[in-house]
């Protein structure tokens, strides 16, 4: 599906009236960035500042999440393990350093250097070497064939950093990013705001606005009130429940974009009673997913049919999760001899997730399963899932690269138990083999076939209950137009305009 | 009046000191003390009433409290029946407490407002095991009658009684454990004259009946004259004079005693006594004057008084005084006309 900004066409007209360039764009957000060094960023609020604003990668996804040239003009796969990129010329970093193959090499060498201790290193571990062929040509030599390479290069971690800044003071990059993007970092008042100004020497199309300020406003209601009164322009973290209010408002509008992530109810498949596939299936049959989408999410997002969203490479329409069928569920429970079940449901403290947990709790009551909800803050959540202390849990998988491998390998492969992502502690040698095969397969159709098949296996074994394909929403005051949300929930400001 | 020949010492206090540390104004200041009682020695004979008089803050109550070991004294000995009370363990002291009892000034503060009279008396008996449980009730009624209260008072709370009646209950409580020595700390000061008379009579009667010994603390010299056998005058934590009552009132030897006696307004307009007005106020016990502590207010003070501390000397039989010039100032004539016409 095409994910255009629903409000965009109207806004374009407004912009066409001509009174539109310049100005400071105020973006309000839930939380502050933690770091601005792409190699250390692990959270969206931080990444959002850099992505396609301060830093750019060799390639970038477009609105349909198809990868397009960015700093790289073109590329080819020389063999299974060698990729070659031709770079654009005449580009300089914000600190004046020229962009060339050496810069690319420097960036990735730092990322891959164990001494850097980048939490993102693992993701790029298939890269054996980055080889400078000439100033505008660079080769990536891989350990093993890795089809989704482009997708990880397009992620925010793949941003190319100024080699000058890297050589001088890499520590400083945490607070002061230096890239090639359309915006230059200006200042960061911790906990309060981060501001960027327009890069007047930008190699591509320069942004319309002079400046963008990301302000931290933790309270949801306050953020929206600021949009409503025009104190701020864009709020990209909107509670789904406010949609009607935004749509009804005279001063606000809504932007929606399909996402890459999928939200699901996961089972710890090694913990009794969930180690019994019948119990898992019973629960899967007892959950009425549609009502969660409409009731909890206010129809933001679509019903998921696997752990991959339609935007992810590897998605198939054909995978089928368990039908809502209470009788079947009860029957399965009986078969399993599991009566008076008491199961805990772990979730992080995100509001929608808590709501969802409550709904699941109430739905499972229908088959006599008593659910105890455990709400913990995100850090504890991660720890608990990493250490396998949990029974059921609600989580989402970001699919940051938009490729099925990132999804399947991390979520379901035996090698990924625990922190790497497989908190189901699911282990199926057949599935493992298929995932490995898909990873090395270069024929896209074949990969798609493998993914469809393995995804159905996982659903049949009731490892999880897919709930929702993400949809990102943002509210903006009617005087802004031209921005969009990409599928990974980054705010894209290339066309943004502020009307007076 | 008692004859003093067959006196037997019940309590002996020697060199009793009680210092209270006071809050300092600065961490650099040396530790300061209120020398509330500063080395006093005296004896209390069995069956007698010894009174302690003196102005507010001179250490009367402190002396009483130290004897009862309500506060642990800084130094000195308190010998009761041959035992030094100060050195007794908590447990030994608890056992001895039946012998030493106390009656306080404030009839409103001296009874637990949440206990009935029965509980108050019962608790006293139980703690000291003076009366076995089944006999307690009878004994309580007996005690109440003894102090002039009806038995029906047992089930009431203290707030239902008048000040004088409460004082009677306090006395009954003290008697409940069959004490030998009762310390009366301002036991009648808070009462109106008519009630005061009742309580004073009661105390006298009980003393006779039970051969009690009283240590009677008061600042009211008229009351002291009425109730005591011997009187001890204190000034700023020291004994200035101690003697038989008659001797003291008729022929005081210390200038302070004289001034004190002459300051009492006499309820008889025809008596015009010659008054010795003292200058100024009582000095602070934190930094008491050097030498004789009274020298700052004494009309007869000399340079010697500023430096030398006078000893307590026996100038007449059983009449001790601590003044360098007691002999010279001593006048055979009583300062006060002894009686009304």
């Amino acid at each position: 599906a095409c994910s255009t900004n629903s409000a965009q066409s109207d806004d374009k007209e407004a912009a066409a009236e001509g009174n539109s360039t310049g100005g400071t764009l105020n973006v309000v957000r839930l939380s502050d960035a933690t770091s601005l060094d792409p190699h250390f960023i692990t959270d969206i609020p931080s990444a959002n500042i850099n992505y396609q604003k301060v830093y750019e990668g060799l390639v970038k996804p477009d609105k349909d999440f198809v990868l397009q040239p960015s700093l790289a003009k073109e590329w080819k796969v020389i063999d299974d393990t060698t990729w070659e990129f031709k770079l654009n010329e005449g580009i300089t970093f914000h600190d004046g350093a020229p962009f060339d193959a050496e810069a690319v090499k420097a960036t990735f060498e730092r990322l891959l250097d164990p001494a850097t201790a980048s939490p993102q290193r693992e993701k790029f571990s298939m890269i054996k070497e980055v080889k400078v062929i000439d100033p505008t040509t660079v080769q990536f030599l891989l350990e093993y064939p890795y089809a989704p390479l482009l997708s990880i290069l397009a992620s925010q971690e793949g941003g190319i950093i100024s080699p000058k800044a890297l050589a001088e003071d890499p520590e400083a990059l945490k607070e002061k990013p230096v890239g090639t993007g359309p915006f230059v970092f200006e200042s960061w008042k911790s906990g309060q705001e981060i501001s960027l100004t327009r890069n007047e020497d930008y190699w591509g199309e320069k942004p319309n606005i002079d400046r963008v300020v990301f302000k931290v406003v933790p309270e949801d209601a306050t953020r929206l009130a600021m949009i409503e009164t025009g104190e701020a322009h864009i709020n990209d973290q909107v509670p789904v429940t406010e949609i009607e209010r935004i749509e009804a408002s005279e001063t606000m509008d809504l932007t929606r974009a399909e996402g890459l992530a999928v939200e699901f109810l996961g089972f710890n498949t090694q913990k009794a009673p969930l180690d019994d596939v019948r119990v898992r299936k019973a629960i899967s049959h007892a959950i009425e997913r549609e009502s969660i989408i409409s009731g909890v999410y206010n129809n933001v997002g679509t019903l998921a049919n696997s752990a991959m969203s339609p935007k992810v490479f590897g998605y198939s329409e054909n995978t089928k999760p368990a039908e809502y069928d209470l009788n079947e569920a009860k029957k399965l429970l009986k078969e399993a001899g599991a009566e008076n079940l008491k199961i805990s449901l772990l979730t992080s403290d995100r509001k929608e997730r808590i709501n969802m947990a409550e709904v699941i709790q109430s739905q499972l009551k229908g088959i006599g399963v008593e659910v105890e909800i455990q709400v913990v803050e995100y850090g504890t959540f991660i720890e608990m899932t990493n250490s396998g202390e949990h029974q059921m849990y609600i989580s989402g998988w970001g699919n940051a690269t938009g490729d099925g491998d990132y999804n399947q390998y991390n979520l379901f492969h035996t090698a990924s138990h625990g922190p790497a992502g497989n908190s189901f502690y699911y282990s199926n040698s057949e599935a493992d083999k298929m995932i490995e095969a898909a990873r090395e397969e270069t024929d896209e159709n074949k990969r798609l076939e493998i993914y469809e098949e393995v995804a159905q296996i996982e659903l049949d074994e009731a490892v999880y209950v897919p709930i929702r394909n993400y949809e990102h929403i943002a509210a903006h005051n009617k005087n802004v137009s031209g921005y969009w949300l990409n599928a990974a929930n980054y705010l894209m400001l290339d066309g943004v305009e502020i009307a007076e | 009046m008692k004859t003093l020949e067959e006196k037997k010492i019940l309590l002996e206090v020697s060199n009793l000191k009680q210092y209270f540390s006071v809050k300092k104004d600065s961490i650099f200041q040396p530790k300061a003390y209120v020398k509330a009682v500063d080395g006093i020695s005296f004896v209390v004979n069995e069956g007698e009433t010894l009174s302690i008089v003196g102005e507010s803050g001179c250490g009367k109550s402190t002396t009483g409290r130290a004897i009862l070991r309500l506060d642990d004294p800084t130094d000195g000995k308190v010998l009761y029946a041959g035992k030094n009370i100060v050195e007794l363990s908590k447990k030994e002291m608890r056992e001895l407490r039946g012998d030493l009892q106390v009656i306080f000034q404030d009839p409103f503060a001296s009874l637990n407002p949440r206990q009935t009279i029965k509980q108050i008396l019962g608790e006293a008996m139980t703690i000291q095991k003076s009366v076995p449980k089944p006999k307690q009730r009878d004994r309580m009624i007996e005690l109440l009658n003894l102090v002039g209260l009806p038995g029906e008072a047992l089930d009431r709370y203290p707030h239902e009684f008048s000040g004088g009646q409460r004082q009677r209950i306090g006395i009954a409580r003290a008697l409940a454990v069959d004490p030998k020595l009762i310390i009366c700390d301002e036991a009648v000061s808070a009462l109106d004259v008519s009630i005061q008379a009742q309580i004073l009579n009661l105390l006298k009667k009980l003393q006779k009946q039970f051969k009690l010994t009283f240590l009677f603390i008061s600042h009211d010299l008229s009351v002291v004259r009425y109730i005591s056998d011997r009187v001890m005058v204190m000034y700023l934590g020291k004994i200035v004079e101690i003697s038989d009552k008659k001797d003291l009132f008729d022929a005081p030897l210390h200038p302070y005693t004289k001034a004190l006696l002459s300051s009492i307004p006499v309820p008889n307009p025809s008596v015009k006594n010659e008054r010795i007005l003292l200058k100024g106020d009582v000095p602070s016990p934190i930094n008491p004057p050097s030498g004789c502590r009274f020298h700052t207010r004494c009309p007869f003070a000399t340079d010697r008084c500023k430096t030398d501390e006078p000893e307590l000397r026996e100038l007449r039989e059983n009449h001790f005084v601590s003044c360098h010039y007691a002999e010279e100032l001593f006048s055979p004539e009583p300062l006060l006309p002894a009686t009304t016409k």
């Binding site: 959270d43 939490p119 209601a221 922190p419 | -």
Partner: protein, 306 residues
Amino acid sequence: MLMFILRRLVQTVPVIFGVTIVVFTIMQLVPGDPAVLLAGEGATKETIESLRVQLGLNQPLYVQYMEYVSNIFRGDFGTSLKNNQPVLDEILLRLPITLELAIFSTIITIVLGMAAGIISAVKPYSITDTVVMVIALLGISLPSFWFGLMLMYGFSVKLQIFPVAGWDSLAHIVLPAFTLGAGGAAIVARMTRSSMLEVIRQDYIRTARAKGVKERVIVYKHALRNALIPVITVVGLQFGALLGGTVLVESIFAINGLGRMIVDSIRMRDLPMVQGGVLVASLVFVAVNLLVDILYRFFNKRIELN
């Protein structure tokens, strides 16, 4: 007086030590491992382990504590686990904002509270008194966060008199300061009133009347000065409640202050930041109490005699 100030300063030292111990102990009770959080989703065991070493989390507790305290004395409150900034810098960035908010709120507390209290006390049991005291009772009974949201809804969104959030102009200060100060004002009002009524009963007021002093002079000269002495202490204590209240109010009004920093850091389990934030907030409170004590003594010299 100087001696008194010195002595109070010295007395403060063990309290501060106690505070560091409590803060440290509480933070040790936090379940889980900050390194795991810091490493983020999908980090390897080695990454986490190296982070632990880097953060000194593998040391025994008392070593960590000693380290912690000695660092504090050197002005080193550690670095944020979240963004690797020195905690002290982060705090110093926010402290002035919170102090500003607290001071404005305190002014509201004092002015509003005392005025209301005096109005009430001058005519006790009158209609004015009843109305003022009912409002004051409501003031201490309403949850402040709720009150703040209501104010924002009314005055910013609907009436658009004040800006919704932020901390740029005087207009931004009004609503949060009022939200924060209202509860305190209510308490001060009640305290002022009861203190006034208490003082009016005193013997020296009767003495003033017996001199022929006018009622108005009695209220403002003889009674008020005495009545305000206990109120000073209440204002001091209120300051503590106020500092605590910033946690909520700063979140609602998006003020980048210490309170919000603490809440955010708790959420992120950024231990050094929480430790530092709570410690500094307590130090500020201790300092305010010290000031109040000195003021109190200044106004009430009798205190030393009791």
